[in-house]
């Protein structure tokens, strides 16, 4: 192989791949399956919220002011955070992929910048409110649970918070990296245009 035309010839002489049989109907089924899975996920999350609210009334949490605030803030934060994630998934899935690569990349950068606000502004506020709600419930746990289980709740809550923070940080680094790469690429494209 010496010049570009030879390379092109080599490229075009690659063994031709045949379209998989029933490939189109497999794709359509897969899309339907994905949509069903999403609906199941939304249903599960909805059911979990209903159970939590049910639990709230079951334990008469509304009779105690602090317990009401605590439990209600935790439920609310969970619903808001899960809602934000579902919105993100939906937004990315419905983003028009048939646009030019330049506009598509710009849209992706815009999407990840919105995610950056979610990570750096909204999530810390949500974690703070969630922790506040949890701390409001602690006195009730102390009264209602055995000393051992109370200790377990204290320790596990810190561990969960640390593990969660680690995964959120990892995801943030990954997404920031994507923004950086795409911005470099867009700069490169602008140079081409200019």
């Amino acid at each position: 192989m010496t010049n570009f035309e030879d390379l092109k010839k080599e490229w075009s002489h690659q063994e031709d791949v045949e379209s998989p049989k029933n490939g189109a109907s497999v794709i359509i089924k897969k899309v339907l399956h994905m949509r069903n899975q999403q609906q199941i996920l939304v249903a599960i999350l909805g059911l979990t919220t209903i159970i939590l609210i049910g639990f709230f009334f079951y334990v008469f949490a509304y009779t105690e002011r602090n317990a009401t605030i605590g439990l209600f803030s935790m439920i609310l934060i969970l619903v808001v955070r899960i809602g934000a994630e579902l919105w993100s998934i939906h937004y990315l899935r419905t983003l028009n992929s048939a646009l030019s690569n330049r506009i598509y990349s710009e849209n992706i950068v815009r999407y990840y910048k919105k995610r950056r606000i979610l990570h750096f502004v909204i999530t810390p506020i949500l974690i703070a409110i969630y922790s506040f709600g949890f701390l409001m419930l602690m006195p009730y746990f102390k009264v209602g649970l055995s000393a051992g289980f109370y200790l377990y709740i204290q320790i596990s809550s810190i561990v969960i918070l640390l593990v969660l923070s680690f995964f959120i940080a990892k995801q943030i680094v990954k997404e920031l990296n994507i923004i950086k790469q795409l911005q470099l690429k867009l700069e490169d494209m602008n140079e081409t245009v200019g």
Binding site: M1, E10, S19, G23, A24, I27, N101
Partner: protein
């Protein structure tokens, strides 16, 4: 064609080979990854089919989806862009003509993967013999800007393949 399923089936059969080949270029010749990626591309094609306007050429429209999906796919999983060594080892056991051809392709894939992202896309479409005007449209730059760059990209690739020659 009024039935979207029939229309999609037609699009799938007509375009699968070239989509697969383009995907293969993005994933460094990894067959399994290219199949997975092609499937993702056609999922997008099906999901976007209602938005397709007849004024654009269907091939350009599919290439745009392929390029955008491929680039996101590579980012999402930080996939290895090189061909797994095991796969190329198997090639060694085949006939010498096949080995030579396969090793040439390996070189080509490796050199393509060394190129910056936009250059890689331009080059893969050029190798697929897509008209330059269409490539410019897919990338989103002017035809003249593409013409300026394409010569340099071709040279970069040829130089890389020559240098890597066994």
């Amino acid at each position: 064609m009024n039935d979207p399923k029939l229309f999609f089936d037609q699009i799938y059969r007509d375009n699968y080979p070239k989509v697969f080949r383009l995907c293969l270029g993005y994933v460094g010749g990894d067959d399994m990854a290219a199949k997975e990626l092609s499937q993702e591309v056609f999922i997008k094609v099906w999901e976007h089919l209602e938005r397709f306007r007849k004024e654009a050429q269907i091939s350009t429209w599919i290439y745009r989806i392929t390029v955008n999906t491929s680039l996101m796919y590579l980012r999402k999983e930080s996939r290895k862009k090189e061909i797994p060594l095991q796969e190329w080892d198997q090639v060694e056991e085949e006939s010498s003509a096949t080995v030579r051809k396969e090793s040439q392709m390996k070189q080509l894939y490796e050199c393509i993967n060394k190129l910056p992202e936009t250059h890689r896309t331009i080059l893969l479409l050029e190798l697929e013999d897509v008209p330059q005007k269409e490539i410019a449209e897919i990338i989103g730059i002017s035809h003249s800007a593409l013409r300026v760059r394409i010569h340099r990209i071709k040279n970069e690739l040829t130089k890389c393949v020559k240098n890597d020659k066994f």
